[in-house]
Symmetry: C2
Subunit: 342 residues, 2 copies
Amino acid sequence: MWVEPYPDFSPEKPLFVCILANTGTARIPGISAAGKSPELTDYTPAADAELVETGTVFSISEPAMCPSGAPTPAVLTRASMLLTGIPCLFINAGLNIMPKIPFIDLNAQPGGDIRKGRAVVDATDIYRKSADLGRKFSKLSDLVMIGESVPGGTTTAMGVLRALGHNGRVSSSFPDNPTGIKERVVNEGMKASGISFGSLKNQPLRAVECMGDPMMAAAAGLVDGLNVRTILAGGTQMVSVLSIIKALGLKKDVSIATTCYVANDRTANFREMTELLGITAFAADPGFGSSRLQGLRMYEKGEVKEGVGAGGAMLAAAMLGFSQKEFKEKTEEVYRSVFSIS
Amino acid sequence: MWVEPYPDFSPEKPLFVCILANTGTARIPGISAAGKSPELTDYTPAADAELVETGTVFSISEPAMCPSGAPTPAVLTRASMLLTGIPCLFINAGLNIMPKIPFIDLNAQPGGDIRKGRAVVDATDIYRKSADLGRKFSKLSDLVMIGESVPGGTTTAMGVLRALGHNGRVSSSFPDNPTGIKERVVNEGMKASGISFGSLKNQPLRAVECMGDPMMAAAAGLVDGLNVRTILAGGTQMVSVLSIIKALGLKKDVSIATTCYVANDRTANFREMTELLGITAFAADPGFGSSRLQGLRMYEKGEVKEGVGAGGAMLAAAMLGFSQKEFKEKTEEVYRSVFSIS
């Protein structure tokens, strides 16, 4: 089975939501591989949304890719959307660059640099608006998957996990996880915010404001508003959202779905954290080892790993009966088309 | 029956969509009563959306009302949403003032002044993006109602109807329809655009670009993308959208719903036009004649008449089994609460 555990549910009206945000943290050199350079990470969420929606990008000359050349996971997400026909709605939870496709705007500011101790301006406001949106989605859909495109998001995830008292080790879009830089940035942020390990365990939205990013407030708010099966589509960034949900005491039907690359990342502790939080975790393997396209094979070497809800998008494909082979071939087709590979 | 003909369908997942736009045409003195002054009409769509969503307004010190003091029809729409629980999504099709609630952004420019011959910058782009959105909504909903808040919209409606070769007489939010001003503005616009009566009957989106407003492109695009029962919620502005849909040759399950105030407006020809276009038209009577609240009784004297999809919102309430009395009482409750009337 290419998705473990194999999903035993088949929704009638699934909805895929992708939350977009930028942060000052992403511009710290060496933090994020979600863009060719730290400055270009500002364009990554917009370009990802455009790619998933249209198969091309408008806001920048080429789609997001790692410095190595491995393509954005938006390619995988688009493949799943094309296969399954699931509608995808994008949410701007705080962007510097807006995508040139329709998106839902939460009127939120981009996140800051956590080293300065003010990561998110008003997490409660974002949370509340997003919860309203979640209530609406509950009336239209019977399964909502929530992905994200937030460069630098594993560092803010680490920050929030620490503030909530978890030894959460986070993954990375780099094959060599720059854990040293992340530790330094998180420690600097905790100092600037005047907090210590676990000191905000009863104030999760305050933890987001000090150490997180706007996506977390939006994702947690959505979960609060939703009264249908909900799947967080992401790796250790979504683990931080789960930790927020747990700290808030929300009782919801939530699980998490990621790629095998994050689930098996030994520099992170995705499985340990989801077990600790008591959440069902799905891991999906796209089978890229046998791909003839080098950019996809680079995923097998630890490049990129996850993002734009790619793991959840694979779960969605599996849920609707598509095989690993069908998914891989559709991804190859999208990748060739988007990057003009013959 | 307070809605005629009485709806014989009962959707499982209805969705209400409200398209918002500003135009330069609305600022022409004497054109629009949707705001206390021509300049303030810029705030009306944002304030209407905030009112429907939250029961209060943030973008301006008080909710939109006619110069006479009659309240915005957003009050009626909110009453229906509260009664029925139908989710409402707002679409920014070109605003100067953004609502401070979540909305879907089409990245479109506000409309111009039709007297200058360039009303909408790129109607085809708005149409295409909106059609994409409609396709997504079709996968989530089995009945979509489309309302609007576009001050000055009956003048642009008249402009498009004329360009498409219809003697469409449009309604007004004033009790005395300023038909003279509208005629002059439309004639000036047709001259500036170099077009004549019916000369754009085969180019409806071009007619929108010359004489219309961005809402029309968005509404027509949505209808194109939708493959479920669709109801245009509005008066003569939505008649202009119907004329665009007809001119495009779209074969869709579309009807129209408005208030009795527009349906019975003798300065307009709503019923004649819907019969000509071969479209089922619903008219709803909120029974405000017996209301103890003066602001609502003013509707009976021809103030406001329609807007923010109020007629369709009443149809929705009837469709889900609510009586005229229940609707009127909920509207009174909302009106009292929003305007702090004891």
